[in-house]
Symmetry: C2
Subunit: 101 residues, 2 copies
DNA sequence: AAAATCAATCGTTCATTTGCGATATACAAT
DNA sequence: ATTGTATATCGCAAATGAACGATTGATTTT
């Protein structure tokens, strides 16, 4: 069993978000709800293998999921993880520091 | 002048948050408001040089600032950047995907 | 069965990140 | 002036990440 501290959990999500191409993919999925890999390779000027690799990282982080609809794969945001990440980040930023002089 | 897209901006903040030690430092600063490097090196079991390096990255990202109070340095969260990061992440997560069947 | 399509994976190269000990810097105390 | 203290910076080694072309695998179409 993989024990993960809160720090590690935030860091792991942050890492998934730490590349412009991955942000772009996620933004696209947010707007479109779902889309095929092909659409992304049109949209983003990078090699197909590179985009596929970024998709893998987002999938490994749990933020997206892929439905195999042969011969294509439809990617969507993973609602559950998305909500969790949202909650975690907002909790992290929420607690305002106590201002002392 | 450094042109930065929205994707790059999010990714840059996310990168700063993508390491457990940096999350830990920020959490600590959030609670304590401010503290000296020494306090952090007590708190976190890593070499002093390593922590100093993580502090530098957080500083470069703009998330913290250091006041030189010889012979020590007092680090605080940079309120302005903190609020900005908070806003950027929440906007990013906010827009719910349209669920289609 | 052969060809075509879509996307993942492999293998490689190059760049960046991480962690550390050693050293340097800046200032205070003696 | 010397010593001590707190912290940054340097230089290195190891690990990880990014990008790409080529290949493979799965499925449809012909």
């Amino acid at each position: 069993m993989t024990y993960t501290t809160r720090e590690e959990e935030i860091a792991r999500y942050a890492k998934a978000l730490s590349h412009p191409v991955r942000i772009r993919i996620l933004s696209f999925l947010e707007k479109q709800s779902c889309c095929f890999t092909g659409k992304l390779t049109e949209e983003i000027p990078m090699a197909q293998s590179t985009i596929s690799q970024h998709l893998k990282e987002l999938k490994d982080a749990g933020l997206i999921q892929g439905d195999v609809l042969p011969p294509r794969i439809k990617y969507c945001i993973n609602q559950k993880a998305w909500e969790e990440a949202k909650k975690i980040f907002s909790a992290f930023f929420e607690q305002e520091p106590i201002v002392t002089k």
